[in-house]
Point group: C2
Chain length 225, copies 2
DNA sequence: CGATCCTTTGAAGCACCTCAACGCCGGTGG
DNA sequence: CCACCGGCGTTGAGGTGCTTCAAAGGATCG
């Protein structure tokens, strides 16, 4: 991609080089300030003034909303390269916390024109990131509204494996509670579903409870509905 | 605000200011072609080549995804002024149908730069619309994943009333099935929930089943969770 | 190694779904 | 004008998938 034809549909461009923080393409300029956040530390909270938006460099971040009685919905997990915290109003509309120790870059929120004139590629990156967020949100609504527990888990594993798999081994950056609050289930149902998949030989749950081996992706895809 | 700082959060800004100072002469209005669609007629289907995106002029449109066995999730209802069908890939990722007879404008999909240089205000409108779609999707995930039937209905009624109410009278452009498929419920549960709200005197269901009177919005807000 | 947290497993309950029937309304044609 | 019809909405009865409540097994870390 040379002149990033920021098409209304393609500004995200297949070429992820710019998005991923590959040292190689450190084309600069966007002046953001790095920040490290500890496990479970808050990056910002719902209602905070949205003075910055962020890009994950390493680790992972969850963004979520809470109901008055504590019920939580994690709308997304953000992995290295992902941008989060962009708002259209002047307040953050959800909260963000690090899943484990993470490093992120904070960009001062600024007008899109300024951003665009200063660094067109970065502006496209931000817009592209929003588009991907929207697409994921749309897929996730289908999952939340219409899929059964097993289908939710299957989808989750497949999506996650696409993003951070090495071979068939997936290293979960999040706890069962996080998974449950992302999929609209309880931790017990998540656990039971995983156990069931294991008993069917579709996945493997090593003693190290934070990792999963996908033994039969085809079977997962069949389950996905 | 005259200098509309199209901030990353505010580019939707009521006042769509220019990102780049394009000659004022280049005011060419967006050239879209009007189109009328009959009740339940398809505007585009999931998988279709995304050659156009659309703006609702009158009537309403639903966008949705289907699972292989027919389960449906309506991710959004689009009312006059709303833009839908913008994609980042070259295919539509969901289907769109008119709720009732509707008129829409089709815009040939083009690169964002071209769009921006040709009509900055319109480009901002499109981006702003995407931002709003994302925000609604995020709110809706909380609803789908964590709210109970009654809370879902209460939220739905309040959101809808904000958009198309005249007084406390809401004229539903969609059927019970559409509501159910939007909220992740069945039509029976939707019906029972509405009946329950009516028995509590919170709403009124006129004989004309396509309208609802909100008698006690405060009560609805309390139910919303 | 003890404390704690996370995860798993079991048993019981409930919110919502499924299945089924009926009522209502609008359209249609005799 | 009314009988018929079909689509949509409501209501009821029963079933179930997931939740809730409870407790025990493992992993991690001081």
């Amino acid at each position: 991609m040379q002149t990033a034809h920021a098409s209304l549909s393609t500004q995200i461009a297949p070429n992820a080089a710019l998005l991923r923080n590959t040292p190689a393409s450190r084309t600069t300029p966007e002046l953001g300030t790095a920040r490290t956040v500890a496990k479970d530390e808050e990056v910002f909270a719902e209602g905070d003034r949205a003075a910055y938006f962020y890009k994950v460099v390493s680790g992972a971040v969850r963004t979520f909303k809470l109901l008055s009685d504590g019920r939580r919905q994690i709308d997304a997990f953000h992995l290295p390269g992902d941008i989060f915290g962009v708002e259209s109003g002047d307040e953050h509309r959800f909260s963000a916390e690090a899943l484990g120790d993470a490093t992120i870059i904070a960009y001062r929120r600024c007008s899109l024109d300024v951003l665009a004139s200063r660094d067109q590629a970065f502006a496209n990156q931000v817009i592209g990131s929003m588009m991907r967020s929207l697409e994921r949100a749309q897929d996730h609504m289908l999952l939340l509204g219409r899929k059964h527990a097993l289908e939710k888990i299957a989808t989750f594993l497949l999506v996650l494996s696409e993003r951070l798999t090495e071979g068939s081994h997936v290293d979960l950056p999040m706890s069962r509670i996080d998974i449950a609050d992302h999929l609209g289930l309880t931790i017990e149902t998540v656990s039971r579903s995983l156990t069931q998949l294991e008993r069917q030989g579709i996945i493997e749950l090593p003693a190290h409870r934070r990792s999963i081996v996908l033994r039969d992706k085809a079977a997962l895809e069949r389950l996905e509905a």
